[in-house]
């Protein structure tokens, strides 16, 4: 059992030794600034990215009619645009 552990440890030593000799050991380093940027935030009033609640209105482009519109109203727009829903089939077929 211990022989297995020793053998595996030896393998790991060779890996690190080789990386150090070839010059690729630095690849495992991370810079603290980037790590901090991605750290999970657990504060009331903020989301995990450290942002307060979003107020900005986001937009998107309808794949059907290429119009620019508010993301929060995309679903009702798409329903009419694709001619689905109760009232939209007559209107959509006219376009």
């Amino acid at each position: 059992m211990y022989e297995l552990i020793d053998e595996v440890s030896l393998g790991l030593c060779f890996e690190i030794h080789r990386a150090s000799k070839i010059g690729t050991l630095f690849l495992a380093d991370t810079d603290p600034k980037s790590s901090k940027e991605l750290e999970i935030v657990d504060k009331p009033g903020y989301d995990v990215f450290g942002q307060p609640p979003q107020k900005k209105q986001l937009e998107c482009i309808c794949p059907n009619c290429q119009r620019n519109l508010a993301a929060a109203r995309f679903a009702p727009h798409l329903e009419k645009c694709m001619g689905m829903g109760r009232n939209s089939s007559r209107i959509a077929s006219r376009r």
Binding site: F14, H17, G23, L38, D47, V48
Partner: protein, 504 residues
């Protein structure tokens, strides 16, 4: 600074070539067969002290094996001026002049080619090519040195988390997307770029490609919420029955989405994808389980068995007849835990006189008992608690608290458990199963909840990341949650992932 060995090794190669290395490596390090392994085991002893030690080395200039610890190989190198030896455990070369291990590209290439054969002999039935770690080229090393900013995903990073904008009552879709993007085996499939689009040139119409793009968005490290408008458009285009602005059911969306993904995985060649038993797409590999239905004729005890493919297990809540092993008083009984729901799901049900079946064996119309069990478990098991009653003119939500565990053992609900016990009548299902096998053990990784009434409601979900951290996903708002929050939540869709995956 690269894989060029040392001057002494280069001189040795110039004089004697790579054969000494080849011979030693192929006989004693990468043994291709059981016989070769026996030879290795017998001959790998130190020639000086007759011991088998860990770091045994083979001299590259003559036939001598020596230990490292007791310095026998060092003595040999000094006295014979044989400066190069190979460590027999891993095939690394040591140079006694440099007093260090040296790494040479030619020798490593030889080693790799020799190592492939024994590996494939052992696992070739399952693996076509052995795994090798990525090695940067010279140019890549230089580039990486010049650009030291590195993002590493550890248990404290937000990579994998992303909010989703509500496009107008689309919280049901957002929750399913969160559950799917945090399904470990599905995530691995997409991040390993395993999808080949079946609609070449029309990748924008392929829902599987859209899923792949979605995974890229989620694991990009971006922190602004994603707007899944293309996904919504694609799903509505391919599943017309779902289209419409009204609030929809998350479970219905899940099934429709899996169906479209399954169809797009196989392309438009009708027959091969219409038979679920033959389909081998990633969706079927992950989500498809087999539900066995056994109908026993009361007259002659003949059992008629059918197995149906299923993507989820829908469990009744609300009052119903008790199963044999409930300890509560008889009469109407409401399950208050997932285990009780599963017990009810798998209990033998007496099909009354109005539902007589024609028995295949005794050829008469008889009353029968029917029992459902799991023949084959999917990698990801989705349990759907039927909280929404849709009787004619009567819409109600069942908000009873149903507890569910973090870890689930499905063994008592398997067809094999039934077969071993001649139906469940004699079996006692323990609440905490003590089976030793790991085959049927599952871990909770996502919970979709519905808050509100059947008319006005909102979906949120909890997902598990980094093994034991839970997060609440409320459209664009992602916050940290505790496992207690998760287990105390009402629970509508429960996603469990098999703990141990086996080769088919």
């Amino acid at each position: 600074m690269s894989v060029h060995g040392c001057q002494h090794l280069s001189a040795f190669k110039a004089a004697k070539g790579t054969d000494p290395f080849r011979i030693i490596y192929s006989y004693f390090i990468a043994c291709p067969s059981a016989d070769a392994r026996r030879i290795k085991a017998k001959s790998c002893v130190c020639h000086t002290c007759r011991q088998t030690t860990l770091r045994l080395h083979a001299c590259m200039s003559c036939i001598y094996f020596g230990c490292y610890g007791a310095k026998h190989i060092h003595d040999h190198a000094k006295s014979k001026k044989h400066n190069l030896a190979i460590d027999l455990t891993y095939g690394t070369v040591i140079c006694f002049v440099c007093e260090d291990y040296v790494y040479d590209k030619d020798l490593e290439d030889i080693a790799r080619s020799f190592s492939q054969k024994p590996t494939l002999n052992l696992v070739g039935a399952y693996i076509k090519e052995p795994f090798s770690t990525w090695e940067p080229s010279e140019d890549e090393i230089q580039l990486l040195k010049k650009n030291p900013k590195r993002r590493k995903v550890n248990s404290n990073s937000t990579v994998g988390l992303r909010g989703l904008i509500n496009l107008g009552n689309t919280c049901f879709m957002n929750c399913i997307v969160q559950a799917l993007t945090h399904t470990p085996i599905l995530r691995d499939f997409f991040l390993a770029d395993r999808h080949t689009c079946q609609m070449p040139g029309e990748s924008k119409q392929c829902l599987v490609c859209e899923m792949a793009r979605l995974f890229q968005e989620f694991y990009s490290g971006a922190c602004t919420p994603h707007i899944p408008y293309r996904l919504l458009h694609l799903v509505w285009t391919n599943a017309r029955h779902l289209a419409g602005y009204e609030q929809q059911d998350a479970h219905e969306f899940l099934i429709a989405a899996l169906d479209v993904l399954h169809r797009h995985c196989k392309g438009t060649n009708g027959m091969s994808c219409s038979n679920p038993h033959l389909c081998n797409c990633i969706i079927d590999q992950i989500f498809t389980g087999g539900l066995q239905s056994d109908v026993t004729c009361k007259q002659c005890n003949n059992v008629s068995t059918t197995i149906d493919p299923i993507w989820d297990i829908s469990l009744d809540l609300g009052p119903g007849p008790p199963a044999f092993r409930f300890t509560n008083s008889p009469g109407n009984y409401e399950p208050t835990s997932l285990l009780e729901c599963l017990k009810r799901f798998t209990r033998p049900e007496h099909l009354g006189s109005s539902a007589k079946i024609k028995c295949g064996k005794c050829h008469s119309y008889q009353e029968s008992t029917k029992q459902l069990t799991m023949k084959k478990l999917p990698v990801v098991a989705c349990f759907h608690l039927k909280r929404f009653e849709h009787s004619t003119g009567y819409h109600k939500k069942i908000s009873t608290y149903v507890s569910f565990p973090e870890e689930l053992d499905m063994t008592p609900f398997m067809s094999s458990s039934r077969n071993d016990n001649n139906g469940f009548s004699n079996q006692i299902i323990l609440d905490i199963p003590t089976s030793l096998s790991c085959d049927n053990k599952y871990s909770l990784f996502a919970v979709v909840n519905h808050i509100g009434t059947i008319e006005v409601g909102h979906y949120t979900c909890y997902i598990r990341l980094h093994k034991d951290q839970w997060f609440k996903c409320d459209d664009h708002l992602i916050t940290k949650a505790t496992v207690t929050d998760v287990l105390n939540s009402e629970g509508y869709l429960l996603f469990y992932h098999k703990q141990i995956l086996e080769y088919e």
